[in-house]
Symmetry: C2
């Protein structure tokens, strides 16, 4: 089970760590972390993670290709031709093409979601339509061999769902129990329909700082 993970400066570490925590329980799990060069890559939380391989040195036909998302750094990546070419090439030959959060915008900008239902972070998910995808405001979306998760913490639901599909429900139940995934969100407002208007407004203001609309519009124009 060869899992190829895109890492990039400013990415949201949680988007990736939730999924690989679940997937690493799979029998035969192997993983490569890819960026333009091997070495440390800073993430959103002050944590740097190691890219193990430069793009050209990675598996050409992984079982799973995965990318997480982020804020402004992810929007910047939508204009990065080298990275999108790598994503398109590996995505075209992977058994599973997958993402969490705004990682689906990267898949979309690489042309990998045309005609597919896909999830994204709630604040920007509708923009997936610019890439020919069908936006789905769900925690985990499986459409043929595309598996996409919602925002950030949805990576846990995504990873555990994929473990169930790949290794069966009995095994996935053991993994879910080992990860003690019986969540109890302390503030009870993790979706816009659960949150008060001031909270939603504050979150939207934060996301607007990374101007996702401009980046997505330009990426969609290049793809067309």
């Amino acid at each position: 089970m060869k899992v190829l993970v895109l890492v990039y400066p400013g990415m949201t570490a949680q988007d990736m760590v939730g999924p690989i925590t679940a997937l690493s329980a799979l029998p035969g799990y192997e993983v490569q972390f890819a960026w333009k060069q091997a070495g440390p890559v800073p993430t959103d939380s002050g944590l740097s993670v190691m890219a193990t391989h430069a793009f050209a040195e990675t598996w050409s036909e992984p079982d799973i290709f995965f990318t997480g998302g982020g804020g402004k750094p992810t929007m910047d990546l939508l204009a990065d031709a080298d990275t999108l070419a790598f994503v398109a090439s590996r995505g075209a030959r992977a058994q599973w093409v997958t993402s969490v959060c705004t990682g689906s915008l990267i898949l979309g900008a690489a042309g990998l979601l045309q005609g597919y239902r896909a999830a994204c972070h709630w604040a920007v998910g509708d923009a997936l339509a610019a890439f020919g995808a069908i936006p789905a405001h769900e925690r985990v979306v499986i459409d043929r061999n595309r598996a996409t998760g919602g925002g950030v913490t949805a990576g846990l639901d995504f990873g555990l769902t994929l473990v169930g599909l790949l290794a069966g429900e009995p095994f996935a139940r053991v993994v879910e129990l080992m990860l003690e995934y019986a969540p109890a969100p302390p503030h009870g407002c993790g979706r816009p329909d659960l949150a008060d208007p001031a909270t939603v407004e504050a979150a939207l203001s934060y996301f607007a700082q990374s101007s996702p609309g401009d980046a997505i519009g330009q990426a969609a124009a290049r793809l067309a």
Copy 2:
């Protein structure tokens, strides 16, 4: 807000990444990742993370001291005098002494939980009593300046709870919404009381491989 995080080989990456994803939203957030030497540290999922500082070079009085847990590598750490001395020294002067999952065993072995209620992973939490702690099978436990979370994914609940305590509920609600923390566990069995007996048995067998009882007993004997 100086957050000092212990990192060590074989640790469970998710234990740490959930909390710092929430805490990094705090105004004035700064972070150090400490191990015996600076440089890459391998984790459970194939991901290596960067230790930014050797023990002696870290803040002596952090606002938050944090450690995550793991399986066998965490049990091995309970016999590591250098690491426990570091944990004891920073814990004694931190404003908050905190952990997720079996990280509380490390705090306990360093003598930091005597007389405190504390959480841990469900499979080994009762063993905290060996260190004079009061085991609490809860998702997040706050007792004076000790804040501890349950197993692995409880780090998200832990982090968001701490953000609420440190920066107020309105801010914490925005963070919870930005992280889209409206979980939907796909298999519905993330606690032993939610799981079928075969699933519980399989998980317990897995944990037994790291012989936590022996490691904890020996660490408690050294502490006494």
